[in-house]
Structure formats: C-alpha cells, structure tokens
Subunit: 459 residues, 2 copies
C-alpha cells in the first residue's frame, strides 16, 4: 500500500470521509469529460464539495502543496476543459445543488454551481420565469459548468449565451480567497467586469461557488417550422436567407440524417424522416407576429429548395424532433469515437462552411455527421471513427484541423460555445494574434499567480 | 516662450500640424468632462487622432517619455473619467468618425470611436436596423465614449447596455500594440472575454480605435403611458409594482418637477405638467401584447396613487416629454453647479431609495432634483448648488456620500452607468472587498504594466 499524499491527509481533517474519493475505479470516471479525444491524467483525489468553505479548503490546500485543482460539474464538456491534470485534486461541485433564491420581482435566481440546468429551468417555470441558456446537455449539465464554458444552446440565436445572464458570482480565487463579484442590480459599472471575465474561463481564473443569474418572464408558446433538404448546402442557404430577411428565430437547428438515424436506432422514436438534412425553425413572437415569422421562415426554406416544408401542427412531433436534436451527440457516441467540432462562422458563410465540411469528409474519407445551431452560424460537424481504427482517427484529426482553418478563413471562430479546453488550444493560437495571446496570459497570471487553477487548459 | 516638450516635437514628425493643439485656451476646453465637481489637470498637448496609426503613435510616444495618455470622446462623461491628468497627452477621438460597415445580414456595424451615438442610430435606421444603447447624451456622445463607460440609457431596461452590443474591438494596448479582440460571429468563446473587460474600463486598459457592434432589427412603434404623482416615493411604488407584475417596459423614466421646470425655462417646450413627479413608461411589444403591456403599466400607476395617468394618444406630446428627460441634465447645469449621482438599486428598493434621497436633501438643506431610469433602479439624484456657495457645496458632498451609503445598504451599486472616473473612487472601495480591489489592480497592472493609460482613474 502506498502512503497517502499529505494533501489528502490535510483534507481529511476538514471534510467528511465520503467527500474524498481515492478509489481508482471511481476517480477514473471523474478523470475526463465527454471530449473523448482529449488526453487526461489520473487525479490524486476526487473531492465532492458541498459548501463554499469546502472549496476554499481545497484551493488553499492545493496552494500550500503546489498541487493543481481541476474543477468539474457534470462532466458533459466537449473540449477536455474538465479533464484531470496528472496528480491533481479533481474538485467536483455536483453535490452543491441548492437553489437559494428565485426572485420574481428582481427576476434573478441564486444557485450553487452543481444545480442541473434543467432543474433550474423547471424551478423558474413554477414562478412563471425562464432561464434561457439551454445547451443540448441541459438535462445533465450544471450551471457551474455552463458558467465555466459560457455555454450556448438552442435558444441563444435569439436570447444570447450564459454570459448574458450571469449577474454575480461567488468565487474562490487563485489565492484562496472567497470573493463576491458583480451585483444584484439590473445595471452596474463599478470597476472592471470580472464576472464576464470569469464566465467562459473554464476554471482557470477562479472556482465558482455561487451564481446569480438574470431571468426572463415565461415566453409565448413556440411555433415550429420544419424543412427537408437534399443537401446541407441547400439547408445552409435557407439559413443565410433567414438572416438576410432579418428574421430572428427563437431556434434554428440543423440535423442531418446520420444524427437522426443514430437517435432513432437508440431510442426508437419513430423519426421517419425522408430527408438528408432537416432544418427546424421556431418562433416565440406573440400572436400575429409569430404567425408572420413562421410564414417568413417557411418561405425561406422553400426558396432555398426544400423538398418539403411545413409549419408543424403537431406539438408532439415538433418536440420529438427537438428531443432528437438534443440526443444526437450521445446517440452518435454509441457508434464510435466522436470528435466534435464547434466552429462558428458569419451567417452568410454558413452554406460555404457546410460545403467545406463535406469536402473535408470526402477528402479524408471519414464520416462527418452534422448538427448545427445554424441560426447563429455555430456548426458541430461530428467526426465518427470506428473503434480502434487508428488510420481513420488520424484522418479525422486532419479533417478537424482543416475545418478550423476553413472557419477562420471565412471570418469565423474556432469555438462557438464548447470552449478551448485541450482540443482547441492550437486553434486558439491560430485565431488570436501573438499580442492577444500575451494579453490572455497576462490576465491568467494576474488572477492565478501560482498557476494552481486548471493549469494547461485554454492557454 | 517655454521650449516645447520633446514628446510634442516627436508627435509633430508623424501628425499634421492641425492635429496637435497646445494653445491653452483650446486645451482648457478638453481638460474635463461634464463632471463639474471632479478635479482635472492641464494637458501638455491635445492630439486629434484620425487613424489607428495616429493613436498608436501617441501611445508609443507616451510610453517612451513616461507621459500619461488620457483618451476622450465628446467629453459628456459625468464622473471625471476623461479629465486631464496633469501634463498628459489628451487624446481626442472626435475626428475618428467613419462608419465603416453596416451589415444587415450579420446585423452588425463597424465604426471608428468618434462616431456620435445618434449618427450611428440614424445610419442603422436607414437599413431598417437599430443600435439600442441610448444614453441621454446620445445627440453628442460618441460610441468610443459609450464603450469606455459601458453606457446605459433609456431603453436598457429592456435591451441592455453597451457591453451587450459590443462584439469586437480594435485596441491600442498599454504596450503600444494594435490588437483585434472579439469576433464578428454571433457566438464565440475563444479565450478570456477581453472585449467585455475593455468595455467600461474608461480608457485605463487600452485605447479603442474601432468598434464592432451588434444590431437589432427596427422595432415596433412604442406606446407611451404617463403618470403624475405627488411624491417621488409614490412614483417609486409604481416602479416596484411594474417589476412585481413581471412587466418589462421598453423605457420607464422618472422626472421630477425641478427637472421639467428647468427644461421648460430653457427651451420653452410648454411642458405644462401639474405634478411633482412624472413617470413615463413605454412598450414596444407588437400588436395586442403592446396594448396589454401599456394597460398593465397604467394599472400599476393608478394602483400606486397616480393623481393622473393615461396612455398618450399624442405622439408629439409623448416625444416632448422624453426630449425633456434627455435635456434635464444640461438644463439643470444652467442653474448652478450640479453634482450627479448614479446609484442603482434592486427594483423593489426603489421607493425606499427615493425616500432616502429626499431625507438626504432635507437633512443637508440642499436641492436635489431627480431623474431616474426607474425601471432598472438606476437613480440620478442631481444636487444643485448656487454658484460660489461653498457651504452648500460641502453639504451637497455630504449628501452625495450619504446616498452612496444608502444605495449600498439596500443592495445596490455606487454606479449604474456613469462609471467610477474620479467621483466614485471612494465609493468603489466601499462597494468592493479589498480582495476584489486587489483583483482589479492586478488586471490593470497586467494590461497596462507601465501605468500609462489614464492613470489614477477608476482604481
């Protein structure tokens, strides 16, 4: 038996035994997120924090021992941001699940980071309120993880991303202090926007222990418009046409038949879709405005050559298509190793980008399935490789890099919503000038001077 | 004749003669913003930049000579953020007025920082687009200044503040480099949010030389609801009731009779308002939803004891009231020295905060006029002091500080939208914990290591 690391011994004096996990079988399941292709180390210990004080104890102990701390929510990330660094303390916030306040007058909620996105949304709905950010992982992912990655989702084409909803944070800093950043008021400009800086920083600038989010009122029921297309490029043209027409749908999703087939095979949802590509548009504008918006989307679908398009009259059918969209990623994972892209391009470049994705698939002889938050140009080409096919894996990696290059060439970004983590570190240096990388590093060094917080990620 | 500072000589080699102003009569008018009570020094030289290259030349020369650079747009700021530091280069961006792009498909505009807010809005309107942030200074203030202060405005109760609209920036850094931050895509999470950090940093982290803003489509015509109240507290209760009812107006402004009288006296607008306090609510919801929202606001006005309330049927009259709101500050300035507050409190605390402002006025025996972006709890008590009345000035200063204390006690912030500048530096240290102040300073040191950018402001 190897002797225990003194850091673990120290943590035993302040945490309950069940909060500390060193059993390799269990810690292994905490060692990586859903980015199957990203490397990960073996954590020294997994800590299940329950309170801010627990988190502070962990960060302070890590500082004393020079051991990195990697924070993790539900582990649904897709870029390796929460992957264990060798010998780290893997700090799980999954047990920090309190919803502390839902305030209808101020339209805000205060939650611990381990609250699952859908749980918060359900609790808000009971008060006639709505927390918009809805990553496809919303049934599992946590608000803390959403904050760490600045998660997007389906409705952000109209309602923005996680950062747009975070008013205040409690954070344990890189020097082990507990601080409150931001405000509860509608507006405020007291000092630099440290809240915005923390959001999307993937646990590299602080550990979030409480989140205050802005809420909206419950919205009107959505109308759904579906369109079938023969090619992804035709669907992309419909997306560009919707942008050019000045329509802002409440969702505009693209799913190709590989995704639909994988979901159907898994869940038997009876998605009898006879199309290569499906576009799903939604409008939540009230009354006649919503009717007009749905009709205008339909016209764009038809104008771009949809083989079939209609406003759904069957809410169940419409919901099933959106559920399939959400399940696409886990469904594809059952078929092989999935390498997920997350490029985002200007709306007008969506058709060209989709054509380039197809070209990359053909050129590299690999299967690329497509799901996309098409309305904001955020594409998720999914490279699927048979298990243990090393050559195919290499070809997929080549396609992954080519797609990044294409997105940058078209004025896009290497990551729309999944974050840099480990998978996009090279992409980041392609996107940002050396001077900007230096600014990024200067900010990291300023707020995490001992490089204890998730080192090696993002930068 | 004193010999010229070598820095000025250097600038002469790269800038046109008319871009450099050393005549004390002219430089004096550039030495301060509208925060009459904030101290300012005498600039060494005023530089009227026209290009990014001009700005870079100035920052690099300042770095070489260890001379501070203070950047200024139109000088309509209300916290002294653009006030000259003694011996600084005062860098004016007022001649950087190019609108480089208005893109309807991507819904964005690219402008130089000297573009006046209303000019951008007018240019967007021609394309059926809308740039929402609308500080009361919009006929004069520049986008660069709006970015520097993260300006709010009348419509931000529904549509958010400047930061919510800035997608990308070109910036000359504290080390004299030109960098591009942010993106043109709808979403993006490539690295830390340096754009959000720059917005509201009052020229202390970089000099903005180009701004890419997000646009919205032109909105539906607004309905206006006006209510007269005997007391500011009753008006505050109407505001709290609107919040509690879940109504999100497109504007909700409070103006008291001191402001209305001052505007009328100046502009002869015929504002024959027989009320101590006026609330102006607006709804831009389309169709029946807008009617319902206006009716609901009216009910809140009446429920809170309005002496008169009605939906305006006369657009001209409604516009005149909003114009009066915009003119309140310059109108009051004609009556004496104005010290402007900018506290922001939770919506439910608006009545209590307004009562405390009244108490501060009575206790200190000074005139406090009130305008407020009431819908988001952002109050602007305006302390007006007769010229050369030193004792009254001291009493106003006391009231100013008491109001800050009250706002913090009620869970508010010391500045909702005007920024820290010079006037709120003490307030900032009251609001932020010492550990957070240290984080703020660390960020400043990271991005402006030579402390050349607007030193002494904010922190």
């Amino acid at each position: 038996m190897t002797s225990e690391h003194p850091l673990v011994g120290e943590l035993r004096t302040v945490l309950a035994p069940e909060q500390l996990v060193t059993d390799a079988e269990v810690t292994g399941s905490y060692a990586h997120d859903e980015a199957e292709w990203a490397a990960h180390g073996v954590p020294l210990v997994v800590v299940r924090a329950r309170t801010t004080q627990d988190v502070q104890s962990v960060v302070q102990a890590c500082l004393r021992h020079g051991v990195p701390v990697v924070t993790r929510g539900a582990g649904t990330g897709l870029s390796g941001g929460a992957n264990a660094v060798e010998g780290c303390v893997l700090l799980s916030t999954e047990q920090m699940t309190q919803i502390r306040e839902i305030n209808p007058t101020e339209r805000l909620a205060v939650v611990q980071p381990g609250v699952v996105n859908d749980h918060l949304r359900a609790a808000c709905a009971e008060e006639g309120l709505w927390y918009p950010p809805d990553p496809a992982s919303s049934p599992w992912s946590t608000i803390g993880g959403n904050v760490a990655t600045n998660a997007g989702g389906l409705c952000c084409v109209k309602y923005g991303v996680t950062r747009d909803y975070v008013l205040a944070l409690e954070v344990v800093t890189g020097t082990g202090e507990v601080v409150r950043l931001g405000r509860r008021t509608a507006k405020g400009v007291a000092g630099y926007d440290l809240v915005g800086l923390m959001v999307g920083s993937e646990g590299t600038l602080g550990v979030v222990t409480e989140v205050t989010v802005r809420l909206r009122g419950a919205r009107d029921p959505e109308r759904t418009v579906a369109g079938y297309f023969d090619t992804v490029v035709a669907a992309g043209e419909a997306v560009a046409a919707i942008g050019a027409a000045g329509i802002v749908p409440s969702a505009l999703e693209l799913i190709d038949r590989h995704c639909l087939a994988a979901v159907d095979q898994w869940k038997n949802m009876g998605l009898s879709v006879d199309a290569n590509v499906v576009l799903l548009g939604r409008s939540d504008a009230p009354g006649a405005a919503g009717d007009a918006e749905a009709a205008a989307m339909l016209a764009c679908f038809e104008g771009a050559g949809a083989t079939w398009a209609a406003q759904s009259t069957d809410q169940e059918e419409a919901d099933a298509l959106f559920a399939a969209r959400r399940l696409a990623y886990p469904a594809l994972e059952r078929l092989g190793a999935v390498l997920t892209e997350d490029v985002c391009v200007p709306k007008s470049a969506v058709p060209e980008m989709l054509a380039r994705v197809e070209a990359a698939a053909a050129r590299n002889n690999i299967l690329i399935a497509n799901i996309a938050h098409a309305g904001d140009g955020n594409l998720h080409p999914l490279m699927i490789v048979p298990p243990d096919d090393t050559a195919a894996r290499d070809r997929a990696q080549t396609a992954f890099e080519e797609i990044i290059g294409d997105a940058l060439e078209l004025g896009g970004t290497v990551t729309g919503e999944h974050g840099i983590g480990l998978l996009k570190r090279a992409g980041l240096t392609q996107e940002l000038a050396p001077e900007v990388m230096a600014m990024q590093r200067a900010v990291k060094a300023a707020l995490d001077p001992h490089d204890v917080l998730n080192p090696g990620k993002v930068l």
